[in-house]
Amino acid sequence: MTEALPVAGANPNVNLAGLSKNDYRGAPSTLCQGCGHNSISNQIVTALYEMNIVPEDVVKFSGIGCSSKSPTYFLNRSFGFNSLHGRMPSIATGALFGDQHLKGIGVSGDGDSASIGMGQFKHIMRRNVNLVYIVENNGVYGLTKGQFSATADKGLKLKKQGENIYMPVDICMEALVSNATFVARSFAGNPKQVKELLKAALSHDGIAVLDIISPCVTFNNQVNAYHSYTWGKDHEEPLQEISYIAPRNEIMLENEMAEGEVREVTLHDGSTVILKNLEKGYDVTSRFEALRVMEEAQQNNWMLTGLLYVDTSKPNLTTTHNLVDSPLNRLTEADLRPAPDALDRVNALMF
């Protein structure tokens, strides 16, 4: 399962990029003890370490909220931008034009993405920005102390708020109908799956939405609430067992492939996600199927987790814009300012 093949004589404490796990860590978390978000931050660190991704090749983004604070708590060596409430997508969209070879990791929450930022959330999907878009989804506003979010279930009761009378927004469905090219759901209480999905998302060249149910231990961790550890543990229905295989380890594929009901999806960098279907015949490349299983899960009160949909055929945003090979932010005056004779031609055009 771990992709980094040991190399003879190599320092066992460093990965193939020559970095230790410490090189991927961030500042100590100031979130609550037991917060699902911390667990996700840890999996981000591990996933990147195991994938040998250099932190300088990653840019972190977030909006506002508890979840949006978390990029401070991983990848100190990566650039980060903690932007405005609900506006992380636009900042990330512009910033990733600076150097199209960089990978974005955006961390948002259900308030940040499904309420104030719903417009930007949906539009970044249709633009296929090269960003892993993590929604740390707990159904509640934590930083303002426990109001309902747009993903809170109808009928949810919170201490100061009473009962939620509105229908919830489903992050994955919204992403899917907005033409996202990678949609997955996971549960912070299932770190192995979170990590495997993170790895697959990082290898996806385009927008990759990870809706991770991440219980709020302070304001919404009731036994009967959808966004709680207890409920999640009892009701999680994994769609498939998922393994991520790094591109350099293709040799390992043979064995895994031998099992029945296995689907593999080759991602842009040549890596592969191996999906062992738990439900017969589920096709992760079918939007129709994805919507169907989500609808079914809602009706049966399941927390359906796993890779719901992936489309590796669409170019990402910067590719669509046909940019020069060099990062745009390394271009110089010679590349950017037209020559004086060009202005003569312009002036001649001005009647």
């Binding site: 500042a27 300088e56 060596r77 650039f79 931008f81 512009g94 034009f97 020069v324 001005m350 009647f351």
Partner: protein, 644 residues
């Protein structure tokens, strides 16, 4: 009848969406090519088709081509505005109208010229029936050309330009022009005094609109990212970028050194632009007032997070529906103080299309140097109308990318640096941007709560120190923003301050004030906030300073009062915004209404004791001017048709 040569205005009243802009631009361009100073203003409603719209053209041999209220020649093509158009003609003027409009001619003091527009078009076998409406407006071009001696070769040249040398439409339109002219020659008797004659006053000049100029300037400034959202009157700025970037930044490999993204709204437009600016790109957006309102939170973030980005605000009137297609200078204080908490933004104020181009590139240098959002405030009149201009000038300085640390710089520093450290005591730190591979290159960006090394903190003293440093950047900016332009007159006793597109009207008013009223005023056109030392020096000189602007509350005056309270008692606000471009008349009357002759006379004596005081003013005229302004302030219609 004495001929009036190269000194009159033409107003064309048409139905919006009837394709009259080709005809009107043809007249404008032909007069321009005849060497006569000319301007054209499109006074259009917020509507695609159906409402009345007017286009005014002013030719003036002395170069006074600001908008004016005079309607010497009126061409009426719209039955719905016919009566109003006829009533508006200046006595002694000329009235051309499409003769299918059967309405009473109520004037005997103007020359009346019916034009058989429909007959002429129908008789032209080369005009397909579905094109008749399109080319009908060319009839009045032809009739007018014949009656005022407009050069047919220049009309052809204008059409040749307009249709990009496509022979079929050129011929179709020009034939109708010719038919109109021939009909007029055979059937009309000249009864008015207006004539055009060739001059050489536009030699070497160009004609362009401010939005296109701003876009071209941005391209020569090396723009790399544009996030935008459609809004009148700013849309054509982004569209011009889309038009010209592929041509001017063409590469052999066909790849792009830029990206233009139409966002889902103005929030995202500025958000993307800030992201790109943060990431090291020359980044911009263009919008108008309502869009800027939506951008406010982001603008404040960019100020505090110190992200270079250029924001064009092509000003117009008001939120929502109403007068969105009318010009204004109403966003000045909003822009200067934009964002919550304390903020003072750098605001550039181009005065014409030449400066739209210049500030188009210069704004990037300033934004990257100061590491802050830079606002460029244009307006609808400057942005969307055609203006005569000197040819655009190639940037005279290399690009200033500001304080940036790349890998080699960080190696020299052994990785020790602080994003918000005021190393050079100018308030500006050094920045890095994503893609830098040095392990110490990164930093974490947020709004306010950070120390000099970009680490999170909520400590009071650290916050205060940071705020003081941000303030210091404002001082530093004064070294980089464009200085004001002074238009002095000999023996001036009072000062005029203005900004933006009102310059032409003020220069005309300045001349009229001397000639007809003996009022001598120096005129300083401010081109940027923060104010540079020249502004202080100018204010110091006069005990009457008229601050002229197109808004209700006198926003420039408000900012000047805040920055220079010591001079505030001398300020006289001449603020008026009805959506029309500034005219010399309202500038002049506004100044005269507040002008204190005695005060000026004493200044004049002090300044030149040997000479006679010249500044005199008859009380009667002063009070009438006052009345006009008062009327304007109470919302009643100001009579615009009277001559001077």
């Amino acid at each position: 009848m004495n001929k009036i040569i190269n000194e009159f205005s033409i107003t064309v009243g048409t139905v919006n969406g009837s394709g009259s802009s080709t005809a009107n631009n043809t007249i404008l361009r032909a007069i321009f090519k005849m060497g006569i100073p000319v301007s054209g203003k499109n006074l259009f409603p917020s509507n695609i088709q159906g409402l009345p719209t007017w286009y005014t053209i002013r030719a003036n041999k002395d170069g006074f081509i600001a908008h004016n209220e005079q309607r010497d020649i009126v061409i009426a093509m719209n039955p719905n505005s016919f009566a109003r158009d006829l009533a508006s003609v200046t006595p002694g003027g000329a009235f051309f109208y499409a003769d299918d409009i059967k309405q009473p001619i109520t004037r005997t003091d103007v020359a009346i010229y019916p034009m058989p527009v429909k007959t002429i078009v129908r008789n032209d076998a080369n005009v397909p029936s579905d094109f008749r409406d399109h080319v009908a407006n060319m009839v009045y071009v032809g009739v007018l050309a014949q009656m005022i001696d407009m050069d047919m070769d220049k009309i052809y040249a204008a059409l040749d330009f307009h249709f990009k040398k496509k022979q079929k439409p050129i011929d179709m339109n020009f034939n109708v022009v010719k038919a109109g002219a021939e009909w007029a020659k055979a059937n009309l008797v000249k009864k008015d005094a207006f004539y055009l004659e060739h001059m050489n006053k536009t030699d070497g000049l160009i004609m362009a609109d401010g939005n296109m100029a701003g876009a071209l300037g941005a391209i020569f400034g090396g723009v790399q990212f544009v996030g935008w959202y459609p809004i009148t009157p700013a849309t054509s700025l982004a569209e011009s970028l889309n038009d010209y970037l592929p041509q001017l930044r063409k590469r052999d490999d066909g790849k792009h050194t830029y990206a233009v993204v139409q966002a889902e709204d103005e929030l995202a437009a500025l958000g993307m632009s800030i992201g790109a600016g943060w990431s090291g790109l020359r980044s911009m957006t263009s919008t108008s007032g309502p869009g800027l309102s939506l951008m406010t939170e982001f603008a404040g973030l960019a100020y505090y997070a110190e992200v270079p980005v250029v924001i064009w605000d092509v000003q117009r009137i008001g939120p929502s529906t109403g007068l969105p297609t009318r010009t204004s200078q109403g966003d000045l204080t909003f822009t200067y103080f934009i964002g919550h908490g304390d903020s003072q933004s750098v605001v550039l104020l181009p005065g014409d299309v030449y400066e739209c181009f210049e500030f188009g590139w210069k704004s990037f240098d300033i934004a990257e140097r100061i590491q802050t959002p830079v606002f460029v405030l244009s307006d609808l009149d400057m942005g969307m109308n055609q203006w005569i201009s000197k040819p655009f000038a190639y940037p005279d300085t290399p690009m200033d990318r500001g304080k940036v640390l790349l890998e080699k710089d960080l190696e020299e520093l052994k990785g020790i640096w602080g994003r918000y450290l005021d190393k050079d005591s100018d308030g500006i730190g050094y920045r890095t941007f994503p893609g830098n591979k040095h392990p110490m290159s990164s930093y974490f960006t947020r709004g306010t709560g950070h120390d000099e090394y970009a680490k999170y903190t909520e400590e009071a003293d650290v916050y205060l120190k940071n705020m003081d440093r941000l303030k210091k950047k404002n001082e530093t900016a004064k070294k980089y923003v464009p200085a004001p332009v002074l238009h002095p007159v000999k023996g001036a006793t009072v000062g005029i301050i203005a900004f933006g597109s009102t310059e032409a009207a003020i220069l005309e008013a300045q001349a009229q004030l001397i000639k007809n009223h003996g009022v001598k005023a120096d005129f300083l056109r401010i081109r940027a906030i923060p104010f540079t030392k020249e502004v202080d020096a100018f204010l110091k000189k006069y005990d009457q300073v008229f601050i002229v602007e197109m808004n209700r509350d006198g926003q420039m005056a408000q900012i000047l009062m805040t920055e220079y309270p010591q001079y505030a008692p001398n300020f006289k606000t001449v603020a008026y915004g009805d959506g029309m471009p500034a005219s010399a008349k309202w500038v002049r009357e506004g100044i005269l209404a507040k002008y204190e002759a005695k005060k000026a006379a004493s200044v004049s004596k002090k300044a030149a004791p040997a000479k006679k005081a010249v500044a005199k003013k008859t009380p009667a005229k002063k009070s009438s001017a006052k009345k006009v302004i008062k009327k304007a302030a109470t919302g009643k219609t100001v009579k615009k048709t009277s001559r001077k």
